[in-house]
Symmetry: C3
Subunit: 469 residues, 3 copies
């Protein structure tokens, strides 16, 4: 493996590549805006926090990595993924690393392959492909680096040139780490994001426990729809105090709806009594999405919605290893009818910003670009999750921008819990954006002035403005 070539990810056409390199030079060093992600804030609360072993850093927490190994017959327990059912799991990080290294060819041509290669090279100076032969040597090298002060999380945060990093936090989370960061005197900007899914979705396993945590955190005794809303509004205010500018909402579908307070009260009472009816959960989620839009209009928080993932498709893996273990599978999603109620209520108000993500690319050109190209409140989020890839970005640019326009999109976010991969993820986006823009320039669709402005917006401006950062 050669060191990372400076023109990587660009089309080979010399005319395109030359323009792309020029555009890229103008934006490569811009600070990183990270408005949506899943990094653990505890990493930054303690100035002396550490990342653990190479396996703990790069494999065990990364469901992109271990799902690929699992798909080829490598048991999750052999990769150190914690079990919930008592299955013993591998505890030797060297063994885990070796298993990964032996299967490294599985990542050929995948985003994970790119992220891993770039991370190894840029962070650890490793330009070899992991393999059975070099597994132990690479492990030693990474482990040694992680022991140095340069690899403390705060040090990397600064080295990565992160301007702001948003985490994702439950509505009932007391946010101790965010408070600690604020009071520590460290200048890194780490802010929470308000994600109330666990209390909004009545069918969440352990819903009542989540509600109790919301109650405790807000100091509001929740016994009715009105107190439920009060507790949520209370927490939104607290999140805002700690810097939050956005909320985040997952749902199986994009269905939104407004019910009467009496209906909502009935559903809350049935849920509190453990007697929800079939259909309550879906209807209540649909209602709460419009209610969250209402709150966003009032408090100015950006609202994010990403429907269409069927969580925990694999019943056995879910039972044995719990949530987020690589078996969340996208499904067909409708936004046209789904979002209509919310948009009828609030879509024409430019004070609201609703950022929508999709895993169903057939909706890009058909639904989301026409909607985002019309409604003042709507912005389209970047290619997400499985589509956070070079081809995914190209399809996004090609299928979205002509109809939505660039300025109805929301820039990039890395959406990751893998902190060391943040720079390469932004870099892939920036390079993909420059490659796309260079293609437009060579076809004389835009000129280089426009391309430079658009590159800056894609790399920095759109995310910063959309998320009010």
């Amino acid at each position: 493996m050669t060191p990372l070539p400076p023109d990587r990810y660009f089309r080979p056409d010399p005319a395109v590549r030359s323009i792309a390199l020029t555009l890229y030079a103008g934006i490569a060093d811009l600070p990183l805006i990270c408005p949506h992600g899943h990094v653990d804030p505890a990493l930054f609360a303690d100035p002396d926090a550490r990342f653990g072993s190479p396996a703990n850093l790069l494999i065990i927490p990364d469901h992109y990595v271990f799902r690929m190994l699992y798909s080829q017959g490598v048991p999750l327990e052999s990769l150190g993924v914690p079990s919930q059912d008592g299955t013993p799991v591998e505890t030797d990080p060297r063994a885990i690393w070796r298993r990964f290294a032996e299967h490294y060819p599985l990542f050929r041509g995948t985003p994970s392959g790119i992220w891993l290669r770039d991370t190894l090279s840029t962070l650890f100076g490793i330009d070899e492909k992991p393999s059975a032969d070099n597994a132990d040597a690479l492990y030693e090298a990474i482990d040694a680096a992680l022991a140095t002060p340069e690899f403390k999380p705060r040090a990397l945060f600064e080295r990565f040139n992160i301007e702001v990093l948003a985490t994702t936090d439950a509505a009932g989370d007391p946010l101790p780490h965010h408070r600690a960061i604020r009071h520590s005197g460290w200048t890194g900007r780490v802010i929470p994001t308000f994600r109330p899914d666990a209390v909004v979705n009545l069918d969440t396993p352990g819903w009542k426990d989540h509600l109790d945590r919301l109650s405790a955190a807000s100091g509001v005794d929740i016994y009715s729809y009105a107190t439920f809303i009060e507790a949520l509004e209370n927490r939104r205010a607290y999140f805002r105090e700690l810097g939050a500018t956005a909320t985040d909402h997952a749902a199986l579908t994009a269905y939104t709806h407004r019910m009467t307070e009496i209906e909502a009260e009935g559903m809350i009472q049935r849920a509190l009594a453990g007697k929800s009816l079939r259909g309550d959960a879906a209807a209540f989620t649909a209602h709460m999405l419009t209610e969250m839009a209402r709150m966003s209009l009032e408090d100015g928080m950006v609202m994010q919605l990403h429907p269409g993932s069927l969580r925990n498709h694999n019943a056995s893996v879910h039972a044995r290893f719990g949530l987020d273990k690589g078996a969340d599978i996208p499904t067909r999603t409708d936004f046209v009818y789904g979002l209509k109620h919310l948009l009828d209520l609030y879509g024409n108000d430019p004070r609201l910003t609703l950022v929508v993500f999709t895993l169903d690319e057939s909706t890009y050109a058909r639904e989301l670009a026409p909607l985002a190209g019309h409604y003042p409140a709507l912005r389209l989020g970047p290619p997400w999750w499985f589509h956070d890839s070079l081809n995914g970005m190209r399809r996004y640019f090609d299928q979205v921008i002509e109809t939505a326009g660039l300025y109805n999109t929301a820039g990039f976010n890395d959406d990751t819990r893998a902190f060391p991969s943040i720079p390469v993820r932004h870099d892939v986006w920036r390079r993909a954006a420059c490659d796309w823009l260079a293609g437009l320039v060579t076809r004389h669709l835009i000129d280089e002035d426009d391309a430079q402005a658009m590159a800056h917006d894609l790399a920095y401006g759109l995310a910063k403005r959309t998320y009010k950062l």
Copy 2:
């Protein structure tokens, strides 16, 4: 902004570009066949008609343009879009133009941006980007040009080298402008297209008024299904007398069906009595689509069907500004089950030509190309509306032709009410077609002889033959 480069819109690859330029040179000057559009025939009925102000020409009537401004928070009333609810609207065309010019960067990378740039350059000799700084100067320049005889609609029609221009006209339209054009001695060929949606769709607001107009125009007293059919057949004959060769039909879905005359009679009677049942409208539309195919078999008119747009998605904009204000959003469409009844009845008869359009590109390769590549009566219309763009065309060529074959497609149409944009729309298609063909030649999939023949067909022959022009 530089003047328009001669190799615009072609891929930068030198081998492709060279062949594309050669192919384009062979077809660039062919006359324009415009078999489907929405230009107002009144423009050509009066030899001294004028286009009005720059804002009236380029902004107020173009929902592609004002929807993009609206999506970024510019109120429709501030752009002079006429309101229906008494909202006062901007009446100063200079102010409207200035608002547009200030927001010109929104059109970067969009088809509207290309059409505007080309129109400004080719028609008005303007190669600057509109901006706050030059807005007034550009306004003056365009306004001055519009005052000259060269900018009368008939003069432009001739300068554009339009061989035939089809308008779209309601079934009950008495077609006075088309009659006037015919009797004026002017040789420009402007023909009507029979679009009976307002009377065929029982749930059209004001259906009874539309029916009355149909009755008045046809001289048939409509009190039954039989007289309804008689009136429609009467009007089709009248449209044909004025040169029409095609009909045009919108529907929410592609569902077709044949009901008995007794069922149809019951639905008409209920509709006349204002007592339609739930489901009547959808079923009646489905029935009338097969009935229209029956009439087309008899009178030879080409039948066009474009389902899948949910009209007036934005309730508030619809209430305040009426139809066609940029909030028609595509939805998932099924053609396989939907068209089956019609095709079972008439799909094997090569005397029928049914041209189908889609806004759901996922149906290109999956449904429409296989259907068009089998049924003698079926042709696939060009990429339409949101997909009338360079990427939309490339996806169309790539996803349709391998399975459907070129000769089961219908060439291009501009589908526009923006008369000055007609040449650039055809030019974009011709360039996109040559670019695609040049790609096939360089990959040795076809030779240059084939490519030349195909380029001619794409630019001219397919539309002319499909629409019997």
Copy 3:
């Protein structure tokens, strides 16, 4: 028409083309693995079998070819397609060939056009385009070649360098030709594939006859669900004795389900009595798919599933000409909910190999790549049928591999009944694969070592390993 250029089908970019040619040189001569197809085994059972006339070889049996002619108004009977309703059909192969030659431009830019051109050039030394002018001369040339010993099926099999050819055979087929091939001493490896659709789908026309054939072939008297299963297991064992390594299953949807034996027994009894209830057929198919997976786990046969084709869409053509006459149309397909039951039962077992095909490309990135990138038992089959084309392959590579990884795909299969087109079909795939890989190399996503390994796997290794050949 020039002779076939050595760099055909590759992108024109010189950097890509150079690498693609190098990669291709390394795999062009690998033997052909044909794990899924529809060639008639009788061709190889008799050492002196012949292909018949040029029309019998290239037109009459190829629904890709005659559907395109039919779509442009050429009657199927005029092409010698056998009728079922007594319609007289053309019997002169020269007249059929001439009709084809006259319409040859219809195949411009289509896969059939490429396959025909390559077959004519490579097999018959013909580098002219068929036309009305040369139709008779080409006919004579092909006919003369077919009379030589070099064009006997077994001779071509060897010349084509086919390592193994799987046919597709009904569960009740006594497989006389496969037995004859085995006992003939000829070393060509031709193996059957177990396809029980006709007995598994209770609504198959003539289901009872198919069941009787299954009973006769297995020697099992089928009067119950248990004996039905016994007969199927018996036949699977027999197919395996004759070399089969795979089963093959078509279904309208991907729905899988497990019912109780009592439910299954009830459905079989109703079917035997000719009294199936509405819904029985769909439910029974869904059940049998999981049952087939259970059997595959036990006997090691690879299971193939290709849902989503609505067979015999054209009622009139079906009535007049029977099955497989070019009117099988793809429909929207759901795999996420559809496959869930089967995957819940067997998806985590790496001993099972389930190869899934789709005609709904919108499922590539959204459903199939995420599923194949997670479940150990799942592999994604190559682009199939309408998507067995250069663009279809490019879309497949671009939309599948990033998420699924290359090693969760199943390589190529030609899926054809047109024996002479087998080499060009594999060649198109191999060239498309090298072009795709060269694109990855020039963008520095993989290095040339990886590309060479991946090219070998795409051309040979993946199919061989997936199908246990």
